[in-house]
Amino acid sequence: MSPSARLQLETASHPEALKRIVIEPLTRVEGHGKVTLLMDEDDHVRQARLHIVEFRGFEKFIQGRPYWEVPVLVQRLCGICPVSHHLAAAKAVDMLVGARQLTPTADKLRRLLHYGQILQSHALHFFHLSSPDLLFGFDADVATRNIIGVIAAHPDLAVQGVKLRKYGQEVIRVLSGKRIHGVFAIPGGVNKAFSREDREYLAKDIDQVVAWSRGAVEIARSLYVGKLETSESFGAFRSNFLSLTTPKGDFELYDGALRARDDKGQTIFDQVDCAHYLRYLHEEVKSWSYMKFPFIVSLGNDEGWYRVGPLARINNAERMPTPLAEEARKVFMAMGKGEPVHATLAYHWARMIELLYAAEAIQGLLSDADIFGTDLMVKGEPALEGIGVIEAPRGTLFHHYKVDETGAIVKANLIVSTTNNNTAMNTAVREVAAQYLDGKKLTEGLLNHIEVAIRAYDPCLSCATHALGKMPLQVELIDADGQVVDRLVKGADGELSGEAV
């Protein structure tokens, strides 16, 4: 199906004659999201939209602050990927202080921090949030389709997931001094040298971490090919892909230039300096969503939307820089038979290849003498505009700031990974809704199919407020007159219950 044909499902011709199913919020997805399905009198899905309601206020939160505070401040935007915001902001602020090229030590230590973040985030997502669906099936009893079910049925696997996540967190803690709210990247470099004691502490477990990561790739691969037909068809669609690559076109997470390829793997643009991203990418506003819809300018907003994240990065890379990950990439890419891999569920496999890359990259850096250097900072000619782009666990993350002469942020633009995947996630929801919900009774298992599709993108829908009692789940069926005809409520403890209307 072409991107424009897909819009037929997004905007029904007569929505006033439809009834709506609202799923709010999503479980195993950070923040607060809502899915609205508009169905006709015959219970056919005519319209499907993913609403993400919590992205308001990010830029306002930053504006007016002195630029040197921003790398620390932005960590509080998100409790799931604070290090990604920290590093993207730091890269933008590097431009503001004229630090065009960091010292080798600062560059490598920032990378070490970033790989720790990738490792912990990907481990959490796969082992904790996604593996229950993949191991037990999307319709399995919710009482077992969770990490406890994984612990019971696959105890070694579950423990590995916890320990991989913990190791990534330890990398972050060692470098920044704390698990969260740490200060490490500062304008022009990093603020702390790396000690040999720190190195020894992290090095003692890294071989095991690499071995477990390699095993995780094999698990993800076998789960994918074990149910190949489902894996390739579930919420599947073709798209463009966007990511950073090295100058040679190799896989890159921390730096590099922008590459976009179309659904056949042909280049749309390549080696674009991140500072020029606005010439190539625009954001469309739609009346029904707070979140914007980015697209590639040369293709227009109907055809130019794209996917980011693990699937995009693996599809776009010529090679992985580490040997085991490269071996895994080749196996993965063979599934595309010369074209990019498009399956939504392939995100999980790609994510585990990245997990393995992160583990190998950490292993390599811990054996690199540059990490013990003490030349940590550079400065240059100050500028009034800074742009930092990084590959966060969920995809490409843009931080763009303008400052006044006092150094105060006067304008901020953030395009987070989840925003980059906005159209893709809407498309996945529509595909799954059309495939699985059409004309069927609303059940937790069926709704979970939609969540499974969204979870493949590992969206970070919001930030880290989580206070008890703040996040109930509500599922509503609303008819064409706006009347609630059915409702399913999820309490703060996650318990589902029916509620008479």
Partner: protein
């Protein structure tokens, strides 16, 4: 390995930039400053945005666990409760409940979780960029009075006597 008596892991969690969600981290900061003057106490502070599976590892070799958090619905100024390991549906989210963390610990370690408690402090506003509300600041003071006493005498049977009775 058996922990020595009186060891406590103290979790303070929440987003410091989301208004009253800062109550957990702020209370932990207060405790850390106070603990600096009481090095004889065996308390391990753990700060985070939210609870996750790896926090189960922080429970190892501890005699007691205490979770400090903001709560939008508990009685003001705070609620001090005993909790047990529980398999709730928070497993399926990015933020585990304290009881779920205990449960994960028991399943992966095959040990009984240490006695655990929550100190939930009532908050009223949770918007990004908002400061702590005046009301929450008052609740924080009240909660600190309790917490200081708990840390001074970190025994499960003593803590049990201090549990909130009004819900």
């Amino acid at each position: 390995m058996t922990a020595s008596a009186g060891s406590v892991v103290l979790f303070g969690y929440g987003n410091p930039s989301r208004g009253d969600d800062a109550l957990g981290p702020l209370l932990l900061e207060r405790a850390e400053a106070w603990l600096g003057e009481h090095p004889e106490l065996k308390v391990t502070p753990v700060a985070d945005f939210q609870l996750q599976i790896e926090h189960a590892e922080d429970l190892r070799d501890q005699d007691l666990a205490l979770f400090l958090d903001a709560d939008a619905s508990c009685p003001a100024p705070y609620a001090f409760r005993r909790i047990r390991p529980i398999q709730d549906d928070s497993y399926s989210t990015h933020a585990l409940s304290p009881g779920a963390v205990l449960h994960v610990f028991e399943r992966i370690s095959r040990q009984v979780a240490p006695p655990a408690f929550t100190l939930s402090v009532r908050g009223v506003g949770f918007e990004l960029g908002q400061p702590l509300s005046e009301l929450a600041a008052q609740h924080l003071e009240a909660a600190w009075s309790l917490l200081e006493g708990l840390l001074r005498d970190a025994r499960s049977e003593v803590w049990t006597l201090r549990l909130s009775t009004v819900e």
